[in-house]
């Protein structure tokens, strides 16, 4: 290694500069890669990139250590010994693909395509290709950890407002609430923007139980009780409505259900929320006034919203209402709703969703319980969007199987036996809730394939491990889950090293090997696929590489108040504060409080043994989820797991700084080292996520890589009664725990025995399967939805339960029971119910739009001559 006197000259002849990007989180910061003879010599932040302007965080700077790390998977591996033994045969990519394909086809023939499931990772794969493969293969069971990360929020907000208003237009904003979001550790380019604007006058409110990096710069910090975000949202909404701080004009013109909402949330006063949030009622009012009086203002989504367990959805709904009634939707400085791209091909257009028939859709695991984020709700929302725009939100992400339910199906065969699982770019033991159950499912599944950079616990138990190429070895494209209108592109710096392939290659090759039509997979590599995606934009380029070289990104001009043209993308064309979509799929149509998974008010018997409140799931430098634990040059910053607690609590428990402690919930216990943090409430415990110890190897086949030792997901819950019936997300925040020091024989990594016994439900006092998943109690029952017409439906018309209207499917005309006429919902032209002739209000007669002939209003006799004006 060269120290100081660098022997690498990036300015030498023959060094090419490729416009790559960082792939260690979702920001996709621009990276310049200096390449010579197929090797990357050096990387640095791209000063001309719109996201990062040259900046790179610690993760971004270790791209070269990641690229050729000795622990990377470089060749396809086939299991040689027992599952989990770590004995492998090295085989070729093609052999691995054909053997995997044969096994998948065999399972499909024997048990149906739905017996094959796939799990995806974060937003750094071509998962439209995975969806395309799965749709054509015939299985509805692909899933992500997406239910913990924005997807439920997107779907609730889309059900209410027609499209999630997620793009904050900060230049003209006066106040932003960073809600359970810490850009100071998880989106550093964004943090710079907030600081710049704050120095120019923007007010920043941070909602976080922890005094985060971002909270340290905030104008108002609300250190609420972990997991009580929904209570805070409801009380803020109550304040805004009952103090009259909303935008009455917008509510009048563009909102439906305001009166019902007003009555419904009357009970959620700041005084009601105070004991549940550990905030003063006055603090809650201050925050509500700050947001509602300083419009245009924004609420920036944070992962917290999706990780609260059973009451997550109500909070999303309340915040969607807050944004709307304050008039912040799609206005300058407000929360913008980009809608699907009308420029390039959206992900949904290349997912081949039409290939999956209704019968297979109905078999999607979890879609009976978590209807909004699976086929029932997505189908309605996609239908409305297609009617309005001709395009729909991405199905991969927004319409998926429920991950924990798939793991339970593997273990129990309920609702049916899932026999094969392909794990791509995810480390489920660390990232899904209830790790002991998840690990048991990975060990038990009949056929497991893992595609990853590293040997993970899932890879260890796999039958095949496929080596995957990273950011420098592949081109990338970023469209924010395929639901925005801009696109950000980067080049491949070098071809994949060793026998690595990209995830796109994997799905492409597997598709062909399972007999899918080559015509359906016309793109041999990402560059071809991406060029196809971009082609409607009409840039004068011949290749994808050329686009990146010359343009790199496409941001359409900002277009405010889009709803002014066509209305909002909802059934009514207005913001549905009382959501008809939610109502139709049996969910509360107004934001309705449900208690947390566990809390001292509703579950005093649990709180007696577990008196502290746990929060986890938040990001912290230098890791991203469970990644980068292998890279020494960042791991040194955070070599061991730490949890934080208040000094007074620590003293009361006899815990000192750095002590190894057990943190225990009803599901299990883990150990981390104590960090005394004066900024936490005396009853709050913050626990670092993601921990495993790749350096330990297969020290213990029951606990490979120490993946259960310090992994906070041993503590979290995926019990059905702890999952949100709206979004399906499970409980990471606000769980009850206790903390105590480890005995000397246990204090350290890899010391003492680890409890691996799982139970269903996870909170059961003894191991074992106590209840089948389909009989697990839920947080609350779905509400039967079967509205009957309140009027007589004229002959020839059909009753539509969703829209609660009678209509004529052939002509798309809707019946107006008050007048007894039909009307066109797009043009509001009225039609005669008997003849389907249009009413001409000026001439006071009827027109047959097909022939142009005119008829008398009363007699319906044709008016011959003179009828034309």
């Amino acid at each position: 290694m060269a120290y100081y006197d660098k022997d690498v000259d990036i300015h030498a002849d023959g060094v090419e500069v490729k416009k790559s990007c960082c792939y260690f989180c979702h920001q996709n910061c621009g990276v310049l890669a200096y390449v010579k003879d197929g090797k990357v010599l050096k990387i640095e932040g791209d000063p001309d990139h719109p996201t990062n302007s040259g900046g790179l965080c610690c993760r971004g700077n270790i791209a070269l250590q990641h690229l050729d790390h000795p622990a990377r998977n470089n060749h396809p591996l086939k299991r040689a010994g027992e599952k989990g033994e770590g004995k492998w045969d090295r085989i070729s990519w093609d052999q691995a693909i054909s053997e995997i394909a044969a096994k998948l086809c065999q399972i499909r023939d024997e048990s149906g395509a739905e017996a094959v499931a796939t799990a995806g990772g974060t937003l750094r794969t071509e998962d439209w290709a995975r969806r395309r493969f799965m749709n054509m293969f015939g299985s509805p069971n692909s899933f992500h950890n997406a239910l913990l990360c924005w997807i439920p929020t997107f779907m609730v907000e889309t059900a209410v407002s027609g499209w999630s208003p997620f793009e904050t237009d900060l230049g003209d904003s006066r106040c932003i609430i960073l809600w359970g979001m810490n850009p100071g550790a998880s989106s550093l380019p964004g943090m710079r923007g907030y600081t710049d604007l704050q120095m120019a006058g923007l007010k920043i409110v941070v909602v976080d139980p922890r005094y985060s990096e971002t909270a340290s710069k905030a104008d108002l910090w609300l250190p609420l009780k972990p997991g009580s975000d929904t209570e805070l949202s409801l009380a803020m909404l109550n304040t805004i409505i009952y103090e009259g701080l909303y935008n009455a004009e917008f509510v009048q013109n563009w909102c439906e259900g305001f009166e019902e909402l007003t009555a419904h949330i009357a009970e959620y006063t700041p005084e009601w929320a105070a004991p549940r949030t550990w905030l003063d009622a006055e603090q809650i009012r201050t925050a509500a006034r700050m947001y509602a009086k300083n419009t245009p203002s924004n609420i920036q989504w944070g992962c917290t919203a999706d990780q609260l367990g059973p009451n997550s959805g109500a909070g999303m709904h309340a915040r969607a209402c807050m944004r709307a009634i304050c008039g912040n939707l799609d206005c300058p400085g407000g929360d913008l709703m980009p809608g699907p791209s009308m420029g390039y091909y959206c992900d949904e257009e290349i997912e081949a969703n039409d290939w999956l028939d209704e019968g297979q859709r109905a078999k999607q695991i979890g879609s009976d319980r978590y209807r909004l984020t699976s086929w029932p709700g997505y189908g309605i929302i996609a239908g409305i969007a297609k009617e309005k725009w001709g395009k729909a939100p991405t199905a991969e992400w927004m319409c998926e199987a429920h991950g924990p339910s798939v793991f339970k199906a593997i273990l129990t065969g309920d609702p049916y036996q899932v026999r094969a699982l392909i794990v791509n770019a995810t480390n489920p033991v660390n990232s899904y809730g209830d790790s002991k159950m998840t690990l048991a499912a990975l060990r038990q599944v009949e056929f497991l394939v893992t595609c990853d950079y590293w040997m993970t616990p899932a890879a260890l138990y796999s039958d095949y491990v496929m080596p995957i190429a990273g950011a420098l070895e592949r081109p990338t494209i970023h469209t924010n889950y395929g639901v925005t209108d801009s696109i950000l592109c980067s080049q491949r710096a070098i071809q994949p090293m060793y026998e690595r392939h990209t995830d796109y290659s994997f799905w492409h090759d597997l598709a062909l090997a399972t007999g899918q039509d080559a015509d359906q997979w016309p793109w041999d590599d990402e560059e071809e696929a991406f060029f196809y995606i971009l082609s409607p934009l009409g840039y004068p380029v011949q290749t994808y590489d050329e686009f990146v070289e010359n343009y790199r990104f496409y941001y359409p001009p900002l277009h405010y108040y889009k709803y002014g043209d066509k209305g909002f993308c909802t059934r009514s064309g207005k913001v549905e504060l009382k959501s008809s979509v939610m109502e139709e799929i049996g969910l509360p149509s107004l934001p309705t409080f449900t208690p947390n998974a566990e809390n001292e008010i509703d579950n005093p018997e649990v709180a007696e043994e577990y008196p502290l409140v746990l929060t986890t799931g938040g990001g912290y430098m230098p890791f991203h989820h469970s990644e980068e634990f292998q890279i020494e040059s960042v791991r040194y910053l955070y070599p061991e797991p730490r949890f934080k607690m208040n000094a007074a609590t620590a003293e009361a428990y006899g815990i000192g700084e750095g002590d190894w402690c057990w943190i225990e919930t009803r599901r299990g216990r883990i150990k981390q080292r104590a960090e005394i943090d004066q900024s936490l409430h005396v009853d709050t415990v913050w626990c670092g996520r993601g921990w495993w110890y790749p350096e330990l190897g297969i020290n213990d086949r029951d606990d490979p890589f120490g993946c259960l030792d310090s992994n906070v997901n041993v503590l979290t819950s995926v019990d059905a009664e702890h999952c949100d019936p709206i979004g399906g997300s499970w409980a990471n925040r606000g769980l009850l725990c206790k903390v105590y020091r480890c005995r000397p024989t246990e204090a350290g990594i890899n010391m003492g025995r680890v409890d691996t016994a799982f139970s269903i439900p996870g909170s059961a006092p003894t191991p074992g399967i106590h209840v089948t998943p389909s009989e697990e109690p839920r947080a609350y029952d779905l509400i039967a939805y079967d509205p009957k017409p309140t009027f007589d439906v004229p002959e020839g018309l059909v009753w539509d339960k969703g829209r609660k209207v009678a209509w004529d499917p052939a002509s798309n005309l809707v019946y107006d029971p008050e007048s007894g006429w039909l009307y066109d919902p797009a043009t509001y032209v009225y039609y005669d119910v008997l003849t389907r002739y249009a009413y001409d209000p000026e001439a006071q007669n009827l027109v047959d739009m097909g022939t142009g002939k005119r008829y008398d209003m009363e007699t319906r006799a044709e008016i011959v001559g003179g009828g034309d004006r």
């Binding site: 660098k6 005094y211 040059s633 943090d677």
Partner: protein, 191 residues
Amino acid sequence: MAHYGMVMDQRRCIGCQSCTVACRAWNDLPLDIIYNPVVTEGVQGAYPNVHETWTPLICMHCVNAPCVACCPTGASQKDPDTGIVFVDSAKCMGCKVCVNACPYGARDTSGMVSHLEGYVRKCNFCRDRVARGEQPYCVATCHQRARIFGDLDDPGSDISKLVGSVGTYRLLEEYGTEPSVYYIPDLGGKR
């Protein structure tokens, strides 16, 4: 003639350690050498009235650099054209006098097996990048723009404007080293 210096804007620094890792990656340094740590005293105060700030450290490239004055071989030098303090590795015999002389602990001897092998290492404001008109790498990589680099002798430079217009302080000014690195304090989270 120039006098390069740096401003650390603590109103912007969030303690992400990006500069620390970036410097090591760019300069191919081993794990145990850190030119520019970011330190903090942790959270001050008690819930819910607290604050926390971070202090990025680096070689101060002092005008009166004690490490230059004490060097017996002339390896430790100050570039008269830029004001950058650097070590000529060919001349360094590893006696470590400069390591003791530096009041900021900015010189690293890790990895030196004996005083006959290796040489003392330190930040040189990325002289090669600066010579090409680029920013030092820690400055370029800082997402938060908490580090501002430039010529203190040029009254039109961003750094001169900043030092002249907001309250700044320097570390251990009482030693008379005249450090070229200025700090803008973060007064506890509120501005």
